[in-house]
Symmetry: C2
């Protein structure tokens, strides 16, 4: 099973990435500072789109830059690209084959914007189109559900913002990431033992907020890709703003609630969901949050801004185990191909 | 039942809005041209967030401006607002009470950005915070599921971009909107007759692309709010990039596929979904698209950029009828309140 193998490779992938890409990323960050963008625009699809959500919070909070996710069809179907002359434009694609993402960067180059690609293939069209390239160095990912390339993408974004902010404390935090990933993997092996409880679950909601808004979306995507379960992801704020209506007795909700600025809001939500009788599955490093869970997945203590890199891993392992329990093909879910060349 | 009444008020609301807000919007557009923003940032939650998605495509395609959706928690929980000094910042909230949206505009004002609010209450905190205000004039919306305020928000965005682009053909198209809305309502009364078919549907996907990406999200939200069904919305491109794996025999998919630049892609997707045996519910003004549907909801011929204003209406009516068929409280779904003051 490649998926299990690739999930387990994540500590090594992050360690290699941080060691070998550091110099390149510091140089790119210097070039971004010189360009002095008015804003950031990110082009991505699928799993990479969730990496872009993380970038939105991290660039905003630590680099003071407003981030928008691009609407690639403006560049392809509509042929009416917006003005990106003052933008830092980042294209994220595991394979680097996403043609619509490449077109956004192509238009941005022509328009005078500064372009960066983040891919796992330096020879790919996207990598070749961007002015700067960050290579994930994650080695081939064979399983169709992206895992190690996702956490490598988050790490690439974290390293880029760290270098741009020129912040030594952030640099130090980054280096602790491979160990935190290793520790997470050893702490969540119990998921395989209780996965059967959810064999007949046919609805599912994942909640996160702030930096971990991205984590909620990525866990939802893994569960959908691997288990064909219609699920939904929300920020804690949006969820209370309407969709919480779906939650009744026994409704399964996975909450990503690590320590940090968003924890108090997440604890409030967990209390409200408990009152409604929801079945809570909690990913956290906070005892109060974990205490509210029917099932708990502990991650190590770490700064909130880096927590998405490890907080997604229990979700990956949960989705994989659900697929196994249901007898689904783990490495090649039906109807999916690894590389999508969207027009 | 207020919901039915408010859905039926939509032609009148749009006509009044276009007549009475025209002068104000032309003046605001002139002020935007003078400010010359580098990009647009939109702050919104829930239904208003879907109006923001529409704005992303329309500002991009017709005004050449890149649009990002703001991450309000950067302004509230994290206290680290990004640089919005070169941004046009638009806050959208039906009630104007969303405190986090107001904080984004407050920070933008302090930062030198240009702020506009779009609300249904000119006395609300959000309206009072923004430099410019666009009043939806939709009269009180009593039903908790927003309908007339959503289509009025879309019309406000359409009118603002039209005035900014200073395009007379667009101005003429806009004026045809109330009639198109009226015609749509008379063409979809049949939905009530077949709503029972979906009484036990417990999963649901809505697909749109480009301008109607927003429509897919808004229909999904109505179905969730009113019927407590976990559903999902995707762009045609993202859907093929993974989630299509959930679609098997009889799986219900609603497709928003009006004539325009996105139609060919949507037709391809409809063919693929038909092959998979999906149960297709099609909203369109194109005969080929409608032919592929088990159930069809026809909208009038109109320019693609305005189609989201009417294409959402069959979704509103579908969601309302599902709630009726299931015996749910239509005007006050469980667990929801009309005004959310998110921190």
């Amino acid at each position: 099973m490649y998926l299990q193998k690739e999930i387990n490779e994540q500590p090594g992938v992050l360690a290699r990435f941080l060691a070998e890409q550091n110099e390149n990323i510091e140089a790119i960050a210097a070039s971004v500072r010189e360009f002095d963008p008015a804003f950031v625009c990110i082009a991505a699809r699928g799993t990479s789109d969730n990496a872009a959500r993380y970038a939105q919070y991290l660039f905003g909070a630590r680099a003071g830059l407003s981030v928008g996710l691009s609407a690639p069809s403006l560049h392809t179907l509509y042929g009416q690209p917006p003005d990106l002359s003052r933008a830092l434009v980042i294209g994220i694609s595991q394979s680097g084959q996403a043609e619509d993402v490449r077109r956004v960067l192509d238009d941005a180059n022509a328009n005078g914007g500064l372009t960066i690609s983040i891919t796992n293939d330096p020879e790919s069209p996207l990598a070749q189109t961007a002015k700067h390239h960050i290579d994930l160095l994650a080695e081939e990912e064979i399983s169709i559900a992206a895992t190690k390339t996702y956490t490598a993408q988050l790490t690439a974004i974290a390293a880029l913002v760290t270098a741009y902010a020129d912040d030594d404390e952030m640099r130090e935090n980054l280096l602790a990431l491979p160990d935190a990933m290793e520790q997470t993997l050893t702490q969540i092996t119990h998921i395989a033992h209780w996965a059967e409880r959810y064999r007949y679950m046919n609805q599912f909601v994942v909640i996160g907020r702030g930096y971990n808004y991205a984590t909620a979306f990525e866990i939802k995507l893994k569960v959908k890709e691997l288990c064909y379960i219609i699920s939904d992801a929300y920020s804690e704020a949006d969820f209370r703003h309407g969709p919480i209506a779906v939650v009744g007795e026994g409704f399964p909700v996975m909450a990503v609630a690590p320590k940090g600025k968003t924890l108090d809001n997440m604890l409030d939500l967990l209390a409200e969901l408990s009152e409604r009788g929801a079945e809570l599955l909690v990913i956290s490093n906070d005892d109060r949050a974990l205490d509210s869970g029917v099932k708990t997945m502990r991650i190590p203590d770490m700064p909130e801004w880096l927590s998405p890199v490890v907080a997604v891993v229990p979700g990956q392992v949960f989705a994989m185990n659900q697929a196994i329990v249901r007898g689904y093909a783990v490495d090649k879910p039906r109807g999916l191909s690894k590389v999508t060349v969207t027009q």
